[in-house]
C-alpha cells in the first residue's frame, strides 16, 4: 500500500468513525423520555409558581416545536442534521437557552476544557510514564519501588475525594489557592493569564495526581518487557550509562503504544471534565454536557458529544499519520 493509499484509508476510517459516532449520538438521546419541550414547560410552571392553563401550554408547545426544528419525521430530522453537522458544523440553537446557538456555547467552553484538561493530561502522561519507566527499569531498586507504590496508592483514590483532600490542604488549611474559580472577563493580558493559571492550578494538580497512575502501570509493564530486548542488553554491554539506556532505549521503544494511548485518552478528558468542572466551578464542556443532560437540551448535548468525538478521532488520526515519524521501522504494506 502506498503512502497516499495509506493516508486515504486512514482518513476514510476517520470519517466512518465520525459518521457512526454522530449517528449514535443522534438517535440515542431521542430515546430519552424527557422531551426537552415538555421539560421546559414544566420548568416554566415551576419558575412561575403558577400553573398555566392548557390552551396556553398547547400554544407554547407548538410554537417551540417550530422554533427548535423538531418538526417532521425522525428520518427528515436525521438527514437534515447530518447535512448541517458535516457541511457547516452547525448544531442549531440551544433548546434551553434559545436562541443562542450551540456553537457559541461550545466555543466559549472549549478553550477552558482543552486548556486545563489538555495540559493536565499531557503532564500526568509525562510524569506517569517517567515514573513507570523508572519503576520498570530499576525494578529491583528500593527507590523505584517506593515511587511506584506512591503512584499505585494515589491511583485508586476516587477522583472526587482526591480533589477534596487537595482542596482542604491547599485552599483551606493552607490557603494558597482559591477555593472556587473566578475568571474575570476582558481582554487577554499577562495579568489575566496569571490569574487563570492561579485559578486553574488546583484542579490541574488534582487531574495530574489522579491521572498518572494508569500511565505508571502501563509503562511499567512495557518497559519491564522491553528490557529483555537484545539491543538493551547490548547497550548495557557497551557500558552505556543506565540513564541513557533507560531513556534512549527502553523509553524510546516502549513509549510508542503509550502515545496511542494518549491520543485515545483525550476522550477521557471529556468525561473527566465533568467532575472537575463541577467541583471547581470551572467553565467548560463537561459542565455544558451536564447542563444539557439536566435540561434535556438535545442540541447542546449533540454539540458537546460530537465535539468530543471529533477531538478523539482527530487525535487518533493525527497519531496514526505521525506515527511513522516516531517509529522509523514502520513499513507500509
Amino acid at each position: 500500500m502506498g503512502l497516499i493509499q495509506y493516508i486515504v484509508s486512514r482518513v476514510g476510517a476517520y470519517l466512518i468513525v465520525l459518521f457512526v459516532g454522530v449517528t449514535i449520538t443522534f438517535f440515542l438521546p431521542r430515546l430519552m423520555p424527557s422531551d426537552p419541550i415538555e421539560g421546559y414547560i414544566a420548568q416554566m410552571q415551576n419558575q412561575a409558581g403558577q400553573s398555566m392553563n392548557p390552551e396556553t401550554i398547547e400554544e407554547l408547545r407548538t410554537s417551540m416545536r417550530k422554533l427548535y426544528g423538531l418538526e417532521g419525521s425522525i428520518v427528515d430530522q436525521y438527514v437534515d442534521y447530518i447535512k448541517r453537522v458535516f457541511i457547516s458544523f452547525d448544531f442549531g440553537p440551544s433548546l434551553a437557552s434559545y436562541p443562542k446557538p450551540v456553537s457559541e456555547f461550545i466555543f466559549t467552553a472549549l478553550p477552558w476544557t482543552l486548556g486545563l484538561l489538555g495540559t493536565a493530561l499531557v503532564v500526568s502522561w509525562l510524569i506517569g510514564n517517567i515514573i513507570g519507566l523508572v519503576a520498570g527499569f530499576y525494578h529491583n531498586s528500593r527507590w523505584a519501588t517506593l515511587l511506584e507504590i506512591f503512584g499505585v496508592i494515589l491511583y485508586p483514590i476516587p477522583y472526587y475525594i482526591l480533589a477534596l483532600v487537595l482542596i482542604l490542604l491547599f485552599a483551606y488549611i493552607w490557603p494558597i489557592f482559591p477555593l472556587s474559580t473566578t475568571i474575570l472577563p476582558g481582554p487577554i493580558t499577562w495579568e489575566k493569564i496569571n490569574s487563570i493559571i492561579y485559578n486553574s492550578f488546583l484542579p490541574a494538580l488534582t487531574l495530574v495526581l489522579a491521572g498518572f497512575g494508569w500511565n505508571i502501570l502501563g509503562m511499567k509493564a512495557l518497559s519491564f518487557a522491553n528490557k529483555e530486548e537484545g539491543y538493551v542488553t547490548f547497550a548495557r554491554l557497551k557500558g552505556t550509562p543506565s540513564r541513557t539506556i533507560m531513556f534512549s532505549y527502553v523509553f524510546r521503544n516502549s513509549i510508542l503504544p503509550q502515545i496511542t494511548a494518549l491520543a485515545l485518552s483525550i476522550g477521557g478528558v471529556f468525561n473527566g471534565a465533568l467532575l472537575t468542572e463541577i467541583l471547581f466551578s470551572y467553565p467548560g464542556l463537561g459542565l455544558l454536557m451536564r447542563t444539557a443532560i439536566g435540561s434535556g437540551d438535545f442540541n447542546l448535548l449533540y454539540g458537546t458529544i460530537i465535539m468530543s468525538i471529533v477531538s478523539v478521532a482527530t487525535a487518533a488520526l493525527i497519531i496514526d499519520l505521525v506515527y511513522p515519524l516516531l517509529d522509523p521501522r514502520i513499513r507500509f504494506r
Binding site: I330, F332, R333
Partner: protein, 331 residues
Amino acid sequence: MTTVLKTEGLNKSYRLGGFINRVKINALDEVNLHIESDAPVIISLVGESGSGKTTLAKVILRLVEPSSGTATIYDQQVAGKGAVPSKHTFLSSIQPIFQNPFEAFSAYRSVDKYLQRTANRINEASAKEAELNIEDALASVGLKYADVKGKYRNQFSGGELQRISIARALIPRPKMIIADEPVSMIDASLRMNIINLFLSLKEDYNTSFLYITHDLATAYYVSDYIAVMYRGTIVEFGNAKSILTSPRHPYTQLLLDSIALTDRKWERKPFAASDIEAKEFQFTGCRFRNRCPLAEDICKHDRPQPIALPDNRDVYCHFVEKTAQKLETTP
C-alpha cells in the same frame, strides 16, 4: 517424472524506508527454477546475504504472497494465483527450518510445546507415539528430550535451538524440508552429523530438501542441484557438483573465492565489499555489473537471459563464453 520444484516468473517486491526516501526492493526478480525428478533431491540455494533466499523459501512455504508468478512443489501449486492446497496435506508434505533459531520459538512457551504440537497435529499421533516421535527426532540431532523439556528459548545456546528446529521439522517426515541455514550455529562435528542425516532422510524417507546455506562446502557435499542468487535474481542454476567445481558466473566465482579454507590462507589485499545494496536492487540491467570485471555497456541495459550450458546448468550472464577460464575476481 514429478515436478519437485518449479517456480515460474516469481516476483516479490518490498518497500523499504519511511515517507521520503522509500525504495522498492525486488527481493525476487523473475525467479525461474525447474527440477523434475522421480528420486528425492537436495537443492542448495546460496548467495549473498539479503539476496532473497529466505524470501523464496517463504513464498514456497506460503508465508509470503508473491507479487506475481507461481511456485509448485511435488506437482502441487503452493504459491501464486489459484494455489489453495489443503492445510493438512500441505503441512505434512512441506516443513520449514527457520533461519534464526532464537526467533523460531516464543519466549513465553517452552520449546518442547512446538514439538508436541507437531507430533499431535500433523502426525496425528497419540500421546505415547508423540513422545517416541519427539524422542527419535531429537536423538537424531544429538539432543535428549529430558534436556529440552520445559525450557525456554533463552535457556538454550543457538546451536541447540537450531537442532531443536530441525528435529521439529523432521517429526512429520515431510516430502520436502525447506531448511533455511539450518546448521549455521552448529559446530563442525555435529554439522556433519546433521548433513549426513539429511542424506539418509533422503535415502530412507524420500525427503527432498531446499537447503539454504552460506556453507558452500556442505552444499557441495549434499546437493544434487544448486541455485546461486544475487540481489533477487538467479545468476546460476543447475547441477551442484559442476557449478561448484567450475563456476561460470562471475559472482559464483567470487563466492567460491571467498571461502575460508583450512589449507590455504587468503591473500591480504585490499578488499571492498559492495554496500549499496538498495541501489543495486534498482538496477535495470545485470545487477552484478558494478562488481563484475567483465561488465560492459550491455550489462547496464539488458537483464541477462539464462544460457543453458551442456553440463545441465543455466547461467545468467552476457559473457558466459569468457568465464570458462578463471578470472581475476577483484571487483
